[in-house]
């Protein structure tokens, strides 16, 4: 198994702010991971990183592979403290999102809506 490094700025530029940019990164990660290799995302020189970008790239990949497999084959480097916080939140959200099916998500929404109505 080889490790392929993706320099994020080479695909998305220094401002990674939208799901369209995130999708481009997702496609690249997907093709490498499908080939059996591991991926190292290098965020050096990334100046702006939003959760909408991360959801469409790093978050979305959690719907395609087993979590344990990803933990072994996906590495993210050169993130500062603020970006690390965003990445952790996105991964947590992605794991929860893909662990639930549509019925559970709808049931959760119903519970919250009823709580609001009772306020």
């Amino acid at each position: 198994m080889n490790k392929e490094v993706i320099v994020v700025t080479a695909i998305c530029g220094p401002h990674c702010v939208g799901p369209d940019d995130g999708m481009a990164l997702f496609e690249k990660m997907l093709s490498i991971l499908k080939s059996g290799n591991s991926v190292c995302l290098d965020f050096s020189s990334v100046e702006t990183l939003t959760t909408s970008f991360l959801n469409a790239s790093v978050g979305k990949i959690f719907g395609k592979f087993d979590y344990a497999d990803l933990e072994a084959r996906l590495q993210l480097i050169n993130l500062d403290t603020v970006d690390q916080q965003s990445v952790s939140l996105v991964i947590k959200n992605a794991k929860e999102h893909f662990a639930k099916n549509q019925e559970i998500r709808q049931a959760e929404n119903d519970i919250v809506r009823k709580a609001h109505e009772e306020d």
Binding site: S52, K60, V82, Q85, R113, H116
Partner: protein
Amino acid sequence: MVQIRIPSVSLESTISNIERLLQSLLPSYQEEQITLDFTECRFIAANGITILAGMKLVRDTKGFQTQIDMTTISESVKKVLMKWRFLDLFGQGCSLSKGTSIPIYVQREFSAKEQKLETVNYIECEIFQRSEMPQMSDILKKHIKNALLEVFGNIFYHSNSQIGGIVCGQIYPNIKQIQIIVYDAGKGLAKCVRDFDSMISSDVDAIKWALRYGTSTLSGENDSPRGLGLFILDQFINANEGEFCIYANNGVVQDRKDGQTSHTLNTAFSGTLIDMRINIKDDVKYILASEKEV
């Protein structure tokens, strides 16, 4: 030609002020020719200016004519309108110093790298690099930039706004605070949520739903986790002890240090406006929900 009398929009009692402004602007949706009359306007805050700018740009897209009766504007209000570059929208630019105002920025589209870079440059030049801006740490700068870009980017992925997005604001150097307003003239956040989930019974509840962790109105085959942008904004502003107010359709939700309040507008708001007040304080550890219990 219909005359629209613009009321004052002061910094205090903002919601009732905004409601009065929205009521005054009702004819602007239908009338092909209007003149803005500032006789009754003694002061106008950044959120009021943003709404007026949005109204003008929406009318432009319809080919409607909007004029200002300059004879009705007091010198002090004129100065304010110039500092925010509002009069530029009417072809009356000026070289007056911006002072502590963060001038109006309009971005019609946000898909090309150049458009994103232009927005980042606006944030850098018109907010962070201003001599009026109090010193702040790089971490706080990054949080502010990310929060603003999350909210601004959402306009282009959710709102279907025909004028794109508008940003405007104010620096308060003495109290070390900045106000940033992001506006779109799209469908409105509350309507988007209620179209997604028809069981949500009010616009206020719809805004509260959108602030929750992991909620989004986008779903379908392209199944990707979403819904963290407004949640992160909420988390950041709370940690910062700042405040924000979201106006969408008939709902208003305001989040302050002393808690969340809501209000129902009698006059529907066209689109979504997010009014953020951020303290320039670095003695705070900005912990997001990834490190806390959600």
